[in-house]
């Protein structure tokens, strides 16, 4: 039973991550009609916002001690961290909590990157074919990841969890089970909560603000909204920025679970497309539902009991679910007719 519960938790946790990544992608589809192959790269850039922030606050002054030599023959470097020197204990806390704090850096940074991308490149491709959108965004993704690589190298850069939040929570005890029957890492619980908050925030933003209303109207019928004298293009630019921010903060909070490397975006690209399409193109609730569905099924498919029944199922479960759903429901879980069907 507790194995089952633990897998459910895993599924929810994965689902939260999948939904967060897919949310921005489907938003861009629904509003701008652009197939954005650079979405994975946005997620990766988010991860590297955390890396950059940590790099900045752990900057050290390096003085070379010419007297001593390291075993490999170069002079020994004496390093003194700056932030801790300036701020003392507060500096230490800052370093410890670098991952959550870097969200503050990621939001403006990703907004700027997103808007720059849309204004600089993507907006010229609204009227072009999907094939050309794929080519240009794919090229952009490669350029972005190569830029990141030239700064941070190809090796993963691990990001620590704040020391107070390390270790696992004994969830079982909360529900009256014996100790150690159901434990789960604190950070994963935080991530689950975080994804719920962000997803809720995006929905509320689109549902309850005038801006959101206009965007939703624009998704339904762009021309009419334009004819009513509303500058829909400007709103769509901001939507693109918003999508970049969501992908970015999803990346920031994911870094302690998965040490980011420069081509992380490509690894998540296929997955995020599968989630979006299974959910139905341009449908936000669909993407969220598909994210959780795929996450949970993936978790259960990796149980030894299931694997002994169907060998190799954990390798293909995501794609198998995608095939079954698309064959049963023509437009994914909640897709509307006519979007990206030709």
């Amino acid at each position: 039973m507790n194995v089952f519960l633990a897998q459910l938790l895993n599924g929810l946790d994965k689902g939260g991550a999948y939904a967060l990544i897919a949310l921005g992608l489907t938003l861009v589809f629904g509003t701008l009609g652009v197939v954005n192959f650079a979405h994975g790269a946005l997620f990766m850039l988010g991860c590297f916002c955390a890396v950059t922030f940590r790099y900045l606050i752990t900057l050290e002054t390096v003085t070379i001690d010419p007297e001593k030599l390291s075993p490999w023959g170069s002079p020994v470097e004496v390093r003194t961290p700056l932030v801790q020197n300036w701020f003392g204990d507060f500096g230490a806390v800052l370093v410890d909590y670098s991952v959550p704090i870097s969200i503050l850096l990621a939001i403006p940074a990703m907004l700027i990157i997103g808007i720059a991308m849309e204004r600089g490149l993507i907006k010229h491709f609204y009227k072009r074919s999907h094939a050309e959108q794929i080519l240009v965004t794919f090229g952009l993704a490669i350029v972005l990841q190569e830029i990141v690589r030239s700064f941070f190298g190809a090796n993963p850069v691990p990001q620590p969890i704040p020391s107070d939040l390390r270790g696992a929570a004994d969830i079982g005890v909360w529900f009256g089970m014996a100790a150690h029957t159901l434990t789960y890492p604190w950070w994963r619980l935080i991530y689950l909560l975080f994804s719920a908050v962000v997803i809720g925030g995006v929905f509320a933003f689109l549902q309850f603000t005038t801006f959101g209303m206009v965007v939703r109207a624009g998704m339904a019928d762009r021309e009419t909204v334009g004819l009513m004298g509303i500058d829909i293009d400007r709103r769509f630019t901001i939507v693109f920025g918003l999508a970049a921010v969501v992908a970015g903060v999803a990346g920031v909070m994911y870094t302690p679970l998965l040490a980011p490397n420069y081509h992380l975006g490509m690894d998540f690209l296929v997955l995020s497309f599968v989630v979006v399409v299974v959910g139905g193109m341009g449908s936000l609730p669909g993407a969220v539902a598909a994210g959780f569905l795929l996450g949970i099924l993936q978790s259960f498919a990796s149980m030894t009991e299931v694997k002994s029944l169907i060998p190799g199922i954990d390798q293909v479960i995501i794609y198998l679910v995608a095939v079954v759903i698309l064959l049963v429901r023509p437009r994914g879980l909640m897709g509307r007719r006519g979007i990206m069907e030709n």
Partner: protein, 380 residues
């Protein structure tokens, strides 16, 4: 039946000449060695086949690498079990990949647009994951399927033609080895045949029907035209081209690895086609050559070579030039590729061939206008 329009015939002649003279005109670019020229020919076949589906019908398959992989595995198995002759190997590769395409196409073609793309992607990724892990007895997993000296080769054994040499047997065409330049000319001839076939398909009523589906499938259906068989036929033909390309990969280099089926390979052929020009005859071929060229030649340039190349410059300038350029070659070849994608799609809409056509049209129009102001443009 074998006739072509005069324009197509001219195109075929030019194409054949270009392909067969590769060892000459590729030499100054540092690409005139059999290994790469074989790859040029093989990936061009792959892209031509992909273009029959994507270019004519507009259906974007993101899983074509699966057929490439199936063709490769079938070929190596044919070498292992039947004969080292490439005849049966190619035949089986085409048949098996065709059947595989029929299966995947039957299901995937129930959906259109991006839903179709994701279905094909899902099928291909499942094939890849299974080939890498559970199906290792058939595919030899990570290592890839290799030939062994003690393979049964029943057909060869039947004819008493068992290889007596101490080393591994080699693929042959009627007893003639197909490595090195022979291998290249074999691939080149098959490429020219493939190009000819694609010309025939483009010009045939079948091709017209596929174009009709691309421009408006609903209308085609309303006029009482059953589009399904046409789509399925296009999908299977395209899969067979991919299978043939896979077979040639294993013929020129007898190894079949699971990575050939990964989504990045599928993505590659999509990029090749779009880069060259979707729906054009030459486009996919040019796209394939360009990407393979970057992958093989640009990645092999190192700072040592750059230093040699720019040694005529003054010292400081040389260091500067080499430092800048080294970001774009060797380990940085991806960056060059990415930049090229962006630049081409921004400045040459429709891909290289389409962009070239537009450029020509514009130049002609400029020549036609008697107004001197517009025609005084720099020649380059």
């Amino acid at each position: 039946m074998f006739s072509l329009s005069r324009k197509d015939l001219a195109a075929l002649a030019v194409f054949a000449a270009v392909v067969l003279t590769m060892p000459i005109w590729l030499a100054p670019f540092g690409a005139a060695y059999p290994g790469l020229m074989q790859k040029f020919a093989i990936y061009a076949i792959f892209a031509i086949g992909f273009n029959i589906l994507f270019g004519l019908t507009g259906y974007l398959s993101f899983g074509h690498a699966a057929f490439l992989g199936v063709g490769s595995y079938t070929t190596v198995w044919s070498f292992k079990l039947l004969s080292m002759d490439i005849g049966p190997a190619m035949l089986f590769a085409i048949i098996v990949s065709g059947v595989f395409a029929l299966l995947i196409g039957y299901f995937s073609l129930r959906r259109t647009g991006i839903y179709f793309s994701i279905l094909t992607l899902a099928f291909a990724q499942m094939s890849y994951s299974l080939a890498y892990s559970v199906l290792t007895p058939i595919t030899n997993g990570e290592t890839g399927l290799l030939l062994a000296r003690d393979d049964p080769r029943h057909l060869d054994a039947l004819f008493g033609a068992q290889a007596t040499a101490a080393g591994l047997p080699q693929p042959t065409l009627f007893g003639m080895s197909v490595t090195g330049y022979t291998g290249f000319y074999l691939c080149a001839v098959i490429l020219i045949i493939a190009f000819y076939l694609s010309q025939k398909i483009f010009a045939s009523p079948f091709g017209m029907a596929l174009r009709g589906i691309k421009s408006n499938q609903t209308r085609m259906n309303y006029t009482g035209f059953n589009t399904r068989p046409y789509m399925l036929a296009a999908f299977v033909i395209s899969g067979m081209f991919a299978g043939l390309a896979g077979a040639l990969l294993s013929i020129t280099d007898p190894l079949a690895g699971a990575e050939r089926m990964k989504w990045t390979e599928s993505g590659n052929v999509v990029l090749m086609t779009i880069l060259g020009g979707v729906g054009t005859l030459f486009g996919p071929v040019i796209g394939a050559w360009l990407i393979k060229y970057f992958e093989n030649i640009f990645s092999a340039i190192n700072t040592n070579m750059l230093n040699g190349l720019f040694s005529f410059l003054p010292d400081g300038v040389q260091t500067f030039v080499v430092t800048v350029l080294s970001k774009f070659v060797g380990e940085g070849w991806h960056l060059t590729l990415g930049l090229m994608f962006v630049l081409i799609v921004v400045f040459l809409p429709g891909g290289l061939v389409e962009g070239f056509h537009r450029l020509m049209v514009r130049l002609k129009r400029q020549k036609a206008t008697p107004d001197g102001v517009t025609s005084v443009q720099p020649a380059e």
